[in-house]
């Protein structure tokens, strides 16, 4: 019994209800979230996502987007050539951005980094960039043809 008491004393918070240390700043709207943080010379990123659940990417032309004032770079699958582009929580079967085809609506197709958020949004939402995702594929056999194993 004495040993248990000793543990409770030394552990402090264990066995007691302790108020959150960050409760006050969150309750009063003073907490800083990631979206609130600004640092000098930071860039703003936005992702262009596929409007189609299944489509071939026939071409992506980033030249106009890259020429826009404030745009630092526009990244697509072409920029992944020299690195391993796949990731995933259980199975690494998702490319960072779609390669050759998209497999779900909302899959990232391109990413833009710009000096201000408005420019990044303008590029990512421009119709010229969207048109580059091409037309929906007629058949939905694309996932099986990659040969990558999937979870049952």
């Amino acid at each position: 019994v004495s040993r248990i008491e000793e543990v409770q004393v030394s552990a402090g918070a264990v066995g007691q209800s302790v108020p959150r240390r960050d409760a006050d700043e969150k309750l009063r709207g003073k907490a800083q979230f990631a979206g609130d943080i600004l640092v000098p010379r930071m860039l703003h990123g936005k992702v262009l996502r596929s409007p189609y659940p299944n489509a071939r990417i026939t071409s992506i032309d980033t030249t106009d987007a890259e020429k826009m004032p404030g745009v630092v770079c526009v990244l697509t699958a072409a920029d992944l050539a020299d690195l391993d582009p796949y990731w995933g929580h259980a199975i690494r079967d998702r490319p960072v951005v779609a390669i050759d085809r998209v497999r779900f609506a909302g899959e990232p197709v391109a990413a833009v980094a710009a000096e201000d958020e408005a420019t990044a949004v303008a590029v990512a939402s421009s119709s010229a960039a969207t048109a580059a995702t091409g037309s929906p594929a007629n058949r939905t056999r694309s996932i099986a043809t990659t040969g990558r194993s999937r979870m049952a």
């Binding site: 209800s17 108020p19 959150r20 960050d22 409760a23 006050d24 969150k26 309750l27 009063r28 709207g29 003073k30 907490a31 979230f33």
Partner: protein, 83 residues
Amino acid sequence: VPTVEGLAERPEFERLADAFTRHAALQCGFCTPGMLLTVAALLETGELTSVEEVKRGLAGNLCRCTGYRGILEAVCELAEVTA
């Protein structure tokens, strides 16, 4: 437009903050301003007369981390209804 920053300057806010803190009615804090503004408005109109009314009143505010239990308990205490 009333915001949580504005609400926090009003004297009646301390009661809300105290209840939310004691009942652990927040975690990440993302939904907290919306919860507080909703609760402040509903307490003012006096329509939180039962647990069901509290649940209905909070129904449009989504929280993905506390599981609602703490929020419900805090608001029931503020509205003086049995949780």
